[in-house]
Symmetry: C2
Subunit: 219 residues, 2 copies
């Protein structure tokens, strides 16, 4: 246990808690107060920490996701759905913006389950944008209460992610074992979503700097 | 107060707390226990709720961001930096992966401040990917401990967001007042990052369904 804590960088008390709540599989008992842990334990601890600290999942969502990852009966679409559910913050009750999302996905020709949690996440953003643009004398953002306005707002984002998602899914093929491909789906979905967000912010700053630079030195 | 709560959908106790911690500006006092609130209060409440519930900011990060938004001396790059700082989860101490991020940004030619928080967010993802790919006999994800491996991993994401960020920054021009453009920067950065993530997940599911469909009905 002390060695597992040292190798993984996770405090022993935290490891014991993860063992109790099923986030970590038990070691092989060698004595009443001793167990043997191997590289699979170190690996799982790193995965759990990445999901909590970097992907920002709650402990409960991490438990549910890890259970699906460990279930040999779960298919890859099941794992992808579990990863998406874990990171979703959207409301669980239907909202008026759901219809806007339905229409948008239909127009784009994207085939997505009716209960995909990302639908609700997108609807929540549209609802907030609506609420924030209806009030006030100046219009700070485009309105989002018609299908045309939604398409104008979302198209640049959808066009950025569509080829990316296709490349991601096609890139999955060379991997062999279930365990390896399952982990790749989860990391590719949740960790790389954080990378995507960070890269967009870096690209925004760069684009801002370019505009400022051009304003300072006009041709 | 009762009417403000009803219009905004935010409980009165929460509104009182927001007033105390500076997330909401005071109303015009009309009597010892009464104040007049206007549409600016409703709007601010909606903004605060969107930052907390949809962008997932902490109360402390929302306070700091709102303070910069309200500061007439803050420039647009200041507001963008504050929005980026608010959403950053990255470690504050330097990590070995920082050098990989430096090299990657240099290779792409992106001009970004040395202390941009998104650098740390990206470094944190690379560190986790490294830790998760070094162990185990099978290689679930590409290694990320060389500049070439980092470029291979990040390029598809960077290429997806670069034209998007340029379009976003150039799209800012038509807006007029400082207040309107500041809000557009914040919503465009933080709420649309959630939309981007949700759209990527929807596109992933669609791409997955396409592959499955093709496997089921081969040409």
């Amino acid at each position: 246990m002390a060695e597992l804590s040292r190798t993984s960088g996770v405090p022993a008390a935290t490891i014991k808690w993860y063992l109790r709540i099923g986030l970590l599989h038990a070691g092989t008992a060698t004595a009443p107060n001793q167990a043997l842990y191997d590289s699979s334990h170190v690996h799982r601890l790193r995965l759990v920490r990445a999901l909590l600290d970097i992907a920002g999942l709650s402990v409960a969502d991490t438990q549910q996701l890890v259970a699906v990852m460990d279930d040999p009966e779960a298919s890859l679409p099941d794992v992808l759905a579990a990863a998406h559910a874990a990171t979703s913050r959207g409301p669980t009750a239907p909202t008026p913006a759901d219809a806007l999302v339905d229409t948008y996905l239909h127009t784009r020709g994207w085939i997505v389950a009716d209960d995909a949690p990302a639908r609700r996440d997108l609807a929540a953003v549209l609802t907030a944008m609506q609420a924030l643009t209806r009030l006030g004398d100046e219009d700070p953002t485009p309105a989002t209460d018609t299908d045309q306005a939604v398409a104008a707002l979302l198209d640049p984002y959808a066009e950025a992610v569509q080829p990316l998602a296709e490349a991601e899914v096609h890139g999955l093929r060379p991997v062999t074992s279930r365990e390896a491909i399952v982990e790749r789906v989860v990391l590719g979905t949740l960790l790389m979503e954080q990378a995507l967000g960070a890269l967009r912010r870096l690209a925004q700053e760069h684009a801002f700097n370019q505009v400022t630079e051009r304003a300072r030195h006009p041709r």
